[in-house]
């Protein structure tokens, strides 16, 4: 568990040092895997902190991408302030959404084939979006 987390931090540090944007995704994945392992072995009460962790993961990824922008690119002050505001908004909005999702998942629902199918469709849709975006990048 800890090894995956440390590996994620190391990969992120290495990516930042080498200026590789491709390292951010695997780094967050590794940290997410470590957190998943923690959740699997958790005790009661850990679930409440998941929205916060989700927002922190997003914030870390956003800040890493920001840090990876070329150093010689000079951004004007107002742009930097606006970007920081957008980032804060995204982090707080995502925390709120995560809280909502958590509340929804905690609600009593009768397990059934419909819910299972909806979940699978959402996952397949996300995979599809990922493939489409990566294919678009490869084409560009």
């Amino acid at each position: 568990m800890a090894a995956a987390g440390v590996a994620g931090v190391l990969v992120l540090a290495l990516g930042l040092a080498l200026g590789r944007a491709g390292a951010v995704g695997p780094a967050v994945t590794l940290v997410g895997a470590a957190y998943t392992a923690f959740l699997l072995a958790r005790e009661e009460g850990a679930t409440a902190r998941v929205p916060l962790c989700a927002a922190i993961l997003l914030l870390a990824a956003e800040l890493a991408y920001w840090a990876l922008e070329p150093a010689r690119l000079r951004a004007e002050r107002t742009l930097t302030v606006r970007r920081a505001l957008v980032l804060a908004l995204a982090a707080s909005g995502s925390a709120a959404l995560a809280l909502l999702v958590l509340a929804a998942s905690s609600a009593e629902a009768r397990p059934g084939i419909v819910l299972e199918l909806a979940g699978a469709a959402a996952a397949a849709g996300a995979v599809g979006i990922a493939v489409w975006l990566l294919w678009g990048r490869a084409q560009a």
Partner: protein
């Protein structure tokens, strides 16, 4: 504009997919919560993304500058709708360098033009085209980007910083037009030349009353006429020695600019010959216009590798007028140039060779053989200089540490010495 997806979009989609799949496989609803922020950013990013319609113009504050000057570039950007962030990069030609922010990231408000000011330092002389603009617009969440390359090139001429020359080499022979050179011939002028007996038709004010009183008859002063001279600046562009941003060609061009300005200021006719891989010439003429012509020709000067043998025969006859002073600026590196100059001397031209020394730019190779080769090369150069001196051609060595005036003085000393030797 060409749209592309940022690495962030792909990574976020992959992360969300992984977390969702993990939630299904591990039956862990908390992973859906981890996926939610990334999905939110993706959905919001796609919803907010609009292709920007950006137009841009590039304007130079001036189209002529001198080496070392700074020139301001104004980039005007306009878009009908706001662009949250646009990165602007002006491609700076090799001879120039950007001072301050380039590239720069700005926000572009919709419907209002935005001006960006960039300062370019003219590091080296030459003609450059400025205005290739690279734009990269981003959506508010940085998931997509639109890139464009706009060609808004405008010419910028960077003239070499001319060497200051206070005293100039006088041509041995003058021409027929009025100028500032004291001619050997007698005529109307200021400089005293001789005395002679009064002849009918002589003007009264020409009478030298002291000499007339001593000799008991009327004697008049004779004076040297003041005429212009023809000067041809001969630039050897077959080869150069260069280290980093400095080289013999830069020095030669600066010297040529300074000499041209100096001679034209003295009402002499100045011509220009760039003798090298590419031949370029200007017939001698006077005035400010000729100075601009020469400056523009200097901008086109470059070393072009060429193995063809060229002699002075390839030059148009009127480029080298008889009795012209030919000032050759050469690093004495190419046999074609040295031979052509000796040929000019043999044809009776008043030739002066300014040896733009390549020695500061050339280091001896490593080891004993390298050292020996360097010494042999230097001896070879001395031998070439000796050939010129035996032909009666003054050769003055010049490098960037010394002013050009030192060269002028060295040539003058050579001429004085040569005159005494002849006498």
């Amino acid at each position: 504009m060409t749209r592309s997806t940022s690495p962030k979009a792909g990574a976020y989609a992959a992360l969300a997919a992984l977390f969702l799949l993990g939630a299904l496989v591990l039956e862990l609803p908390e992973l859906v919560v981890l996926a939610a922020p990334f999905l939110l950013v993706l959905v919001a990013g796609v919803a907010l993304a609009r292709e920007p319609d950006v137009s841009a113009t590039v304007e130079l504050a001036r189209d002529r500058a001198v080496e070392g000057d700074e020139v301001e570039v104004v980039i005007r950007l306009e878009a009908p709708e706001s662009v949250e962030r646009i990165d602007v990069f002006l491609a700076v030609p090799r001879r120039l360098s950007a001072v301050g922010g380039n590239p720069v990231a700005v926000r572009l408000p919709g419907g209002r033009p935005r001006e960006l000011r960039l300062t370019l330092r003219c590091a080296r002389w030459g003609a450059a085209l400025v205005g290739v603009l690279y734009l990269r617009a981003h959506d508010p969440l940085g998931l997509f980007r639109w890139e464009a390359r706009l060609d808004r090139r405008t010419p910028l001429k960077v003239y070499p910083g001319a060497e200051t020359v206070r005293t100039l080499l006088r041509p041995l022979e003058t021409q027929v037009f009025t100028g500032n050179q004291v001619a050997r011939q007698k005529g109307e002028g200021l400089e005293f030349a001789d005395l002679r007996p009064f002849l009918p038709g002589d003007r009264i004010r020409g009478i030298n009353w002291r000499a007339s009183a001593r000799r008991g008859s009327l004697w008049v002063n004779e004076r040297h006429a003041e005429r212009n001279g023809d000067v041809v600046l001969f630039l050897d562009t077959f080869a150069e020695a260069r280290r980093g941003r400095a080289g013999t060609l830069d020095l030669a061009v600066r010297a040529a600019g300074g000499l041209a300005a100096g001679y034209l200021g003295h009402k002499d006719r100045v011509g220009f010959v760039s003798f090298g891989g590419v031949l370029n010439w200007l017939q001698p003429s006077t005035g400010t216009l000729q100075l601009y012509r020469i400056a523009d020709s200097l901008l086109d000067t470059e070393i072009v590798l060429n193995y063809a043998w060229k002699g002075v025969d390839v030059l148009p006859r009127r480029t080298l007028p008889p009795q012209a002073l030919v000032v050759a600026l050469t690093p004495l590196l190419d046999a074609r140039a040295t031979t052509a100059l000796l040929d000019l001397r043999a044809r009776g031209f008043d030739l002066v060779v300014v040896d733009v020394s390549p020695l500061p730019y050339v280091e001896a190779g490593e080891g004993e053989v390298g050292e020996l080769a360097h010494r042999l090369w230097r001896l070879q150069r001395e031998a070439v200089r000796g050939r010129y001196e035996r032909a009666g051609v003054p050769v003055a060595s010049w490098d960037e540490r010394a002013p050009l005036a030192a060269v002028v003085e060295e040539v003058r000393a050579f001429r004085r010495h040569a005159s005494r030797a002849r006498a």
